[in-house]
């Protein structure tokens, strides 16, 4: 809410300047969006009295004005406004002035005529188009006749005020009014408020009850509904003081009736609605839900089809307003209005909130109804509004209020103890200090042996339980004064769980191996969500009402997100990228059930893994690079069961000849390989190598014991062997034979060469291994090694038909 400092000063003797007051409001009441003066950035704007005007000799729309700006001689100003007139006070921007949009005014010649400044419209001195009164949209603004030429214009327009723009939290609806602000500020400064309502003077000739009747059938949707009627009203512009109050609060002045309702809304936080009494189709008022598709034309001339959740005010069952949200066009106040039916009501906050959302009609009124209305002031506000309308429109207020419903304004009683206060807040407040806080808040408080019985007035409808009172004490006492401690008497050890340690270690390992951590979007397209799954599932979980077509379903693999990242990089000429991601994937388990969330880890490498330099060659991403990374990672995860890689062609997104499923023991934990060239093309990326692992599965695997293996002091003996084999014989099948038949002393087999090429017979390849033998208990003799080696060779020849080269 845009709170005027000058308006506050009418009610409180403020001890601090606006900026300091704002800081205090932020610390004690509600957040501050901004503190500003309407005159910020404006200079040299003075009152000018137009002594005479004559047409510009060279223009049919410009006027030459002789203007008294408080100096001995008049100055000539050329003015283009159609409403310029002599004997009026106007806003003059002198040469050197700064006006709105940081425009600087210079002495100039306009079509040959000297212009010593500019006569300004409100829009030219910082007023928003939506706030400057509509009547002056096309022209300049006239200052009051009593304004003194040469004086700054700001005080006349309320522009010397300071506005404290507060950001009201949903619970503090009371701070949406001057009254609420005055109460809170009085509480924290310990001031006495001079706030008082204007009393109504009723006309004896008319009884309101003879003019209207109100029947509220459903008191839940309109807990309070009251009406007054003011007759013989003349519709005209409001006095300047009232217009200033409104425009400084960001509300456009319209006429003396509408302006009064808005003024009361600001002062009390009580939205009012004014109907043209004579246009009401009937004089019996009600409130009901709309019928489905019931048509209604609102003030803004929009024809709306209402829903059965909308609430309407009716006259003779005919809708005349969308309750608390916007009035109807038919019964709106116009220049011809002479009688005003004035509504002061409280509507159900939830219904109004939903209605405003549904129709996209958020207004000063609806935002107040949504947060709740003070039932203490519904009638006071109605009386004051009626009186003001009568005063400003020379009308008369009929006697009596017609009440359809009345929400009780009874205080709530809450008791709390001094011990409890200090226990929760960590303070050492005394009973006197607590008592003082409640007195400042003007809450009745009885202290009985350090138990406080607090009576919370209805104007603070946000307070209903002990914790709410603790907040009042804490904020009025001051959060600054609450001590800073850390929780004591807790013996929690804390720390990461074993699973969390493994997840963190997984990230560290992959970073150490050269992959950068990516965090991609979990929500993706349906197509991408079901790509690259380790195990095929049905369709992914989809959002009911997505925001964008790119993010509609939860991912079932991490790789598609990483490929989207690679595509983003590739489009920006970053073609050498190595990424990994650790995060959740979502496996649907049935309708109306939460999906199973699996912790996964995945990697993707494209281009050069390590760039070529003056000193070494580039290392290009390839299958064996990424497999090596996966193997090292799995070694670090120390799974007990054997890791095996089995060629797999079942994933259509993957290269059918360059993909391996990864098993730990019998369990499929993931896969590694090259993405299918067509998939790469779809993603607009180069050749890319990926892996995806189900971390949950890996973490569930039994671990190798953390044992130290003694390093044998006895020497090793090695034998190299090169085998010529059919091209379809795999490394794994050879290793199986060697490991199986290698004998007790074989400790290691390392492949050191693979050759396929023109020097070999067709469909043959050569694989070369180093076999390492060691007796951990003694020195191994050559003879034993030779025996073991010969045996392996024989087995290889028998089983795999190898030729030793």
């Amino acid at each position: 809410m845009k709170v005027s400092y000058q308006w506050l000063q009418e009610y409180l003797d403020l001890p601090e300047k606006p900026a300091d007051l704002a800081e205090r409001i932020a610390r004690i009441s509600v957040d501050i969006n901004d503190v500003y003066s309407p005159s910020d950035g404006l200079t040299k704007l003075v009152v000018g009295h137009v002594d005479s005007i004559k047409p510009h000799p060279d223009s049919d729309h410009l006027t030459l004005c002789q203007v008294n700006i408080g100096t001995a001689d008049d100055v000539q100003i050329v003015c283009g406004a159609p409403n310029i007139a002599a004997a009026k006070n106007v806003i003059v921007a002198l040469p050197g002035a700064r006006i709105g949009n940081n425009i600087k005014i210079k002495r100039s010649k306009m079509r040959g005529e000297l212009s010593e400044g500019m006569i300004c419209a409100l829009q030219e001195i910082g007023f928003g188009e939506q706030i400057a009164p509509k009547a002056y949209e096309e022209g300049i603004w006239f200052l009051p006749a009593e304004a003194t030429p040469g004086e700054p214009v700001f005080p006349y327009l309320g522009m010397d005020d300071t506005i404290i723009d507060t950001d009201v939290t949903p619970n503090r609806g009371d701070m949406f009014s001057m009254l609420g602000n005055v109460n809170d500020i009085a509480a924290f400064y310990g001031l006495t408020s001079k706030f008082k309502p204007l009393l109504v003077q009723e006309s004896a000739d008319q009884q309101t009850a003879d003019l209207v009747s109100v029947q509220i059938d459903d008191k839940k949707i309109a807990p309070t509904y009251k009406m007054r009627v003011i007759s013989d009203v003349q519709i005209k512009d409001s006095p300047l003081w009232l217009q200033i109050r409104l425009w400084n609060a960001g509300i456009r002045p319209i006429n003396n009736v509408v302006d009064v309702t808005n003024y009361i809304l600001l002062k009390y936080g009580q939205p009012l609605h004014s109907f043209d009494y004579d246009k009401l189709p009937a004089k019996n008022i009600g409130v009901r839900f709309a019928q489905q598709d019931e048509p209604f034309v609102t003030l803004d001339e929009n024809k709306r089809d209402l829903s059965s959740d909308d609430v309407v005010v009716t006259a003779g069952d005919h809708p005349v307003a969308l309750a608390g949200t916007m009035g109807g066009l038919e019964t709106a106040i116009s220049n011809q209005t002479t009688s005003v039916a004035l509504e002061s009501a409280i509507f159900d906050p939830v219904l109004i909130r939903k209605q405003a959302r549904r129709h996209d009609l958020h207004s000063e009124s609806s935002s107040r109804f949504e947060r709740g209305i003070n039932p203490e002031t519904s009638e006071i506000a109605l009386n004051e509004a009626a009186q003001l309308i009568a005063q400003l429109g020379t009308g008369k207020v009929a006697t009596g209020i017609v009440t359809g419903s009345q929400k009780p304004a009874t205080p709530i009683e809450i008791s709390l103890t001094l011990a409890r206060i200090n226990h929760v807040l960590g303070t050492e407040l005394s009973a006197v200090e607590v008592q003082d806080i409640f007195e400042r808040l003007a809450f009745k408080c009885i202290n009985n042996d350090d138990t406080f019985l607090v009576s919370v007035p209805a104007r603070r409808w946000d307070i209903s339980i002990e914790a709410d009172l603790l907040e009042e004490i804490a904020r009025i006492y001051g959060y600054d004064k609450i001590p800073s401690t850390l929780p004591a008497q807790t013996s929690n050890i804390g720390g990461l769980s074993q699973q969390q340690k493994w997840v963190r270690a997984s990230r560290h390992v992959l970073e150490g191996l050269g992959l950068n951590q990516a965090i991609s979007y979990s929500l993706t397209t349906v197509t991408e969500a079901q790509q690259f799954e380790i195990k095929r599932h049905a369709t992914p979980m989809e959002l009911d009402y997505p925001m964008s077509q790119d993010h509609v379903a939860t991912r079932m693999s991490l790789i598609s997100g990483l490929l989207t990242d690679l595509a983003y990089n590739t489009a920006r000429k970053q073609v050498d990228v190595s990424l990994y991601e650790q995060g959740r994937i979502f496996v649907p388990v049935g309708k109306n059930k939460r999906p199973q969330e699996q912790e996964h880890i995945a990697g993707a490498i494209t281009g050069q893994f390590s760039a070529k330099t003056w000193h070494h060659e580039a290392q290009m991403a390839d299958f064996y690079l990424i497999k090596g990374i996966v193997a090292q990672y799995l070694a670090n995860m120390a799974v007990k069961n054997a890791v095996s890689y089995v060629a797999s062609n079942e994933r259509s997104e993957m290269h059918p000849g360059r993909t391996a499923n990864i098993f730990v023991g019998e369990t499929l934990v993931g896969y590694v390989g090259q993405i299918h060239p067509q998939t790469a093309k779809q993603y607009k990326i180069g050749a890319t190598y990926v892996f995806e692992l189900n971390l949950d599965k890996i973490m569930a695997e039994p671990k190798k014991p953390r044992h130290y293996q003694m390093i044998s002091k006895y020497p090793t003996i090695t034998r190299d062997i090169a085998l010529l084999v059919d091209e379809n014989i795999t490394n794994e099948s050879i290793l199986d034979v060697i490991n199986d038949k290698g004998g007790a002393y074989l400790t290691d087999v390392t492949l050191f060469d693979v050759y396929e090429g023109s020097h070999l017979p067709a469909h043959k390849k050569s694989l070369a291994y180093t076999l390492t033998y060691q007796d951990k208990e003694g020195t191994l003799v050559e003879e034993k090694v030779n025996q073991a080696f010969d045996k392996v060779i024989k087995q290889l020849m028998d089983k795999l038909n190898v030729e030793v080269r």
Binding site: P170, G426, A474, G494, R504, L513, I519, Y545, S578, F609
Partner: protein, 348 residues
Amino acid sequence: MGLKDKLDQLRQQGLTEVKASSDLNKINDIRVKMLGKKGPITEVLRGMRELSAEERPKIGQFANEVRDDLTNAIEAKRSELEQAKINAQLEHEKLDVTLPGNTVPQGQPHVIQQIIDQLVDLFIGMGYEVAIGDEVEEDHYNFEMLNLPKDHPARDMQDTFYVTPEILMRTQTSPMQARMLEQHDFTKGPLKMVSPGKVYRRDTDDATHSHQFHQVEGMVIGKHITMADLKGTLEVVAQELFGDELDVRLRPSYFPFTEPSVEADITCFNCHGRGCAICKQTGWIEVLGAGMTHPNVLKMASVDPEVYGGFAFGLGPDRFAMLKYGVEDIRDFYQNDVRFLTQFNQKG
């Protein structure tokens, strides 16, 4: 010429030759020639038989001196020449040390991960356990158990991705408050937990909005947990992340699951409170929301609010990263431009 003079002459001759020699082979030749079994010194010593018994030891001693002098001179020269040879070799091996070293691939943790880990480690140090929650939640835990019934206005502040009327993408990490409260065995002491993770809002992505971002939730519930403890904890967090010379300001706020609720601001680290564009001229930067756990939240999780109480807080690592590193577009975190990711490589 006496033997002594002969020896003296040999010494002079040998020393002169050693001094004049400039390569290791020559030095070796001199050693063999002068000190060998057939060398002149040996020859001279053979003549000692003819000396008197009285003179023999004197000459013998002198001969040994000459031999030692020559040996030392030869060794000194050899060492000198060897050193020179090594120096020449090293001179030859000289590198341009300003040429760049090899590129050794090293991956970097994501900047948001770094902030999460920094916070998590801070809390672990204070005895917190870490709880990781699911990203797809029930409306029940995401809202209702947090004192946000179906028609609560605060639900409008969080546009939600619903899957069904009861299942949604969590809008906050706060459901872990309710889940941990339900699980925790309070007979074993207070609950102290921190829960980082992804959250989702139905927002259009732009420079300051993202439909996916992160939160770190924290909660401490016990018999003696105070608002002063909350204040102290928040100060520790703010100072850990942004430096300990900054002030922390608490001000009232509103969250349905805490009462009192506060927002914590720190002095703007950019302008130190004078006011600048980062802090929108206020001198303060909002860093987190917190409060004393609402009794309804405890009650709904079957924890007696008369006996137990405490605080909860939530903070946003994305926002922290933006503030701390001056990242201007939140989408940078999720597009994973490698030039972005590799920047955050400072360790420790």
